[in-house]
């Protein structure tokens, strides 16, 4: 996700919230039905938090 686009492109923030939601990528979520392997609870919570907060990735090595 390009953070510079957040708050600029209409709906991007809401879309990310939807993607990060338990309903989507959580256990029993609709992405699991489609074959997604759900992350362990702690990893998923960490991922969701970083997605919502817009935490930057480490620079590629």
């Amino acid at each position: 996700v390009k953070n510079a686009h957040r708050g600029v492109i209409p709906g991007l923030e809401e879309f990310i919230e939807e993607y990060a939601s338990d309903a989507a990528l959580g256990r029993g979520g609709y992405l699991q039905e489609r074959g997604l392997v759900v992350l362990a609870d702690d990893m998923r919570a960490d991922l969701q938090q970083r997605l919502i907060d817009g935490v930057s990735m480490d620079a590629p090595e």
Binding site: V1, K2, I9, F15, R34, L36, L39
Partner: protein, 614 residues
């Protein structure tokens, strides 16, 4: 003095026939079928001149049998490869053609071929026409855009230059190869390549517009196709003999060429039946010059040549062998461009890019179905439906890192961290790249399914585990085995053909990591273990490109299409793509293990068979 008698074997335009009958005694072949050798020889004793088309063949053998009465062959074509010119000259028969007047019509057809090939015209027409058009998605029939692409023109004669002018209206960058560089006023900014070999790698679309001569026979062979950019398009509105059709077929099947547009074939009429299996080959039945305006102009030119000849003057388009070689330079163009419509289309596209209000997402084709599912849910909740494109992991990252702004995507999807695969950007772009890249989020899907082997809908095949040496299996080494039954005698005796993703693809990464590398680590097969020790992981990232493994583009939809075309072929997918296409694909059972959601966990790959390797 009685009027000369001429034979017109094919149905020329009404205006041409009217004028011919006014000035000559005309014998018309009423059934409009190609004149045979016997007919040509028989008619030569009855007429003073002929107006044949490229369907009448004046081979040396035919020319030797011609009656001395025949004095001129005024061709109704610009190409003269159907005439043995030295034999005709030896016999003292004048030969003319119709240069210049076909340029615009033929160039327009070349544009049609280019657009039809680039935008899936065959598939699109079939879907609508057959009533099979039942859904739409942002990834549906996504084609190649011509604006900004590089057009390589081989032969910058009348047709080549007319094509260049039309293509400029589509904002294409024009490159050309001609034996001689054109003067600046004819070149109009096109970039000259003295060598054909430097033109090929810069041609996103390559258009053949040179005449058929002994030198250009089989001009496009497998070596030349290999020099074209991956995903490029071949257009041939000149002559079929310029192309090695087997090599073209191989380039299409391997995905090296994304499409082709052909108006001419080695065998005409009829074409090449093997091309019919590929809807990305857009074909027309050699009708490059078939417009009313051009047919009249061609007929009149042939009659102008006859008029001059029979009044004792030199025909304006008299040919000798020497002038055939200079056909490109002799051609000239008289008509003006009509590009208003095309320019309006281009302008509209540009305007859309400036005013985007939907989220734009690119990236991995494996992540694509998940992102699309979220996009659908998002739209159901009242949001504007995001535009999700399946570009492949590598392609997506390139586009994503193009910059910040409405013309650049907001999100790219990938299966696992893949920064290693991003091609380094040029220094001047690096700052911009970092402004975007340091904001990249870690991917959502670190634990998508492992790749899955799938095959076409009708095939029934299960793969047993490979057998170690000495127990009925053959050695699996660097040399690819061509047949399945050579790997294991229980498998059918059919050629191995596996379509899989290229090295920039996330699916390929996963395949190497989970199938090739991890499988080797646990293997008891002595030779594989030795291979693993000798090569290390880096070497194992490579696949042979000339064997049964065919890189089929980053977009898994292309692999689905190929499996549909060949039920005996196999493909390597992310599991989600098998799920998406269960109506068309069949998962392959390997060593008794079916590809199912629980079987394709990446984290506990103890089972041998989520994947297969050739």
């Amino acid at each position: 003095m009685s009027r000369p008698v001429i034979w017109i074997p094919r149905r020329l335009s009404a205006a041409t026939l009217d004028r011919a009958r006014r000035d000559y005694e005309v014998i018309v072949k009423d059934d409009d079928t190609p004149g045979t050798a016997e007919e040509i020889v028989a008619m030569s004793a009855k007429v003073d001149g002929m107006i044949p088309c490229h369907s009448e063949h004046f081979s040396a053998e035919v020319v030797a049998r011609l009656d001395p009465r025949l004095r001129i062959v005024a061709n109704h074509s610009v190409g003269t490869d159907h005439c043995d010119l030295p034999a005709l000259r030896e016999k003292g028969i004048a030969v003319t053609n119709t240069p210049g007047v076909l340029s615009d019509a033929t160039a327009e057809l070349a544009m049609l071929l280019m657009l039809g090939a680039a935008r899936h015209a065959v598939t699109g027409d079939r879907l609508v026409r057959s009533g099979a058009w039942e859904s739409w998605s942002p990834a549906f029939l996504v084609g190649k855009q011509l604006s900004g692409a590089r057009l390589g023109i081989v032969g910058m004669g009348g047709v080549g230059r007319a094509l260049a002018r039309k293509a400029r209206g589509f904002d294409m960058e024009i490159h050309y190869h001609n034996r001689r560089r054109l003067p600046a006023d004819l070149e109009e900014g096109a970039i000259w390549h003295e060598s054909f070999d430097t033109l090929l790698p810069v041609s996103d679309v390559l258009s053949l517009n040179c005449p058929s001569t002994p030198e250009t026979l089989g001009l496009m062979n497998s070596d030349r196709f290999a020099q074209m950019p991956k995903g490029s398009i071949l257009v041939n509105a000149s002559r079929g003999s310029l192309v090695d059709e087997a090599a073209l077929l191989a380039a299409i099947e391997s995905g090296h060429l994304s499409a082709a547009g052909l108006d001419c074939f080695v065998t005409e009429p009829g074409g090449n039946p093997a091309f019919a299996a590929h809807e990305n080959i857009f074909m027309m039945p050699h009708v490059g010059s078939a417009t009313v305006k051009t047919r009249d102009a061609m007929g009149f030119k042939a009659l102008d040549n006859l008029d001059a000849f029979f009044s004792g003057r030199q025909p304006p388009d008299l040919l000798t062998s020497a002038t055939v070689e200079n056909l490109q330079e002799h051609s000239h163009v008289t008509q003006t461009d009509r590009l208003d419509t095309a320019l309006v289309v281009v302008a509209a596209t540009a305007a859309q890019a400036q005013t985007r209000d939907a989220i734009r997402i690119v990236g991995s084709s494996t992540v694509f179905p998940y992102t699309q599912a979220v996009a659908e849910e998002f739209a159901n909740q009242g949001g504007t439906s995001p535009v999700v494109e399946s570009t492949g992991t590598g392609g997506g990252m390139q586009i994503f890192c193009g910059g910040i702004g409405a013309q650049h995507p907001d999100i790219t999807g990938r299966r696992a961290p893949c920064a290693l695969r991003v091609r380094p950007l040029r220094p001047e772009r690096r700052d911009r790249h970092h402004r975007g890249a340091d904001r990249l989020r870690r991917p959502v899907h670190r634990h998508l399914r492992a790749p899955t082997t799938s095959m076409g809908p009708h095939a029934q095949r299960n793969l047993p585990r490979p057998r170690p040496e000495g127990s009925g299996g053959r050695r699996v080494g660097r040399q690819p085995l061509p047949m399945w039954n050579e790997i294991n005698a229980d498998l059918p005796a059919i050629p191995i053909l596996v379509y899989g993703p290229p090295p920039t693809s996330g699916t390929r990464d996963a395949f190497v990591e989970l199938a090739m590398w991890r499988r080797l680590r646990g293997t008891r097969l002595r030779h594989l273990e030795r291979l693993r020790r000798r090569l290390g992981r880096g070497e194992l990232l490579g696949h042979a490109q000339d064997g049964p493994f065919v890189e089929a583009g980053e977009n898994d939809n292309l692999i689905v299409q190929r499996l549909n075309a060949d039920p005996n072929a196999m493909g390597i997918f992310g599991y989600s793509f098998l799920y998406e296409n269960l109506d068309q694909l069949k998962g392959v059972n390997i060593g008794g293990v079916e590809p199912t959601p629980t079987r394709s966990r990446t984290s506990t790959t103890r089972s041998p068979a989520r994947c297969t390797s050739t």
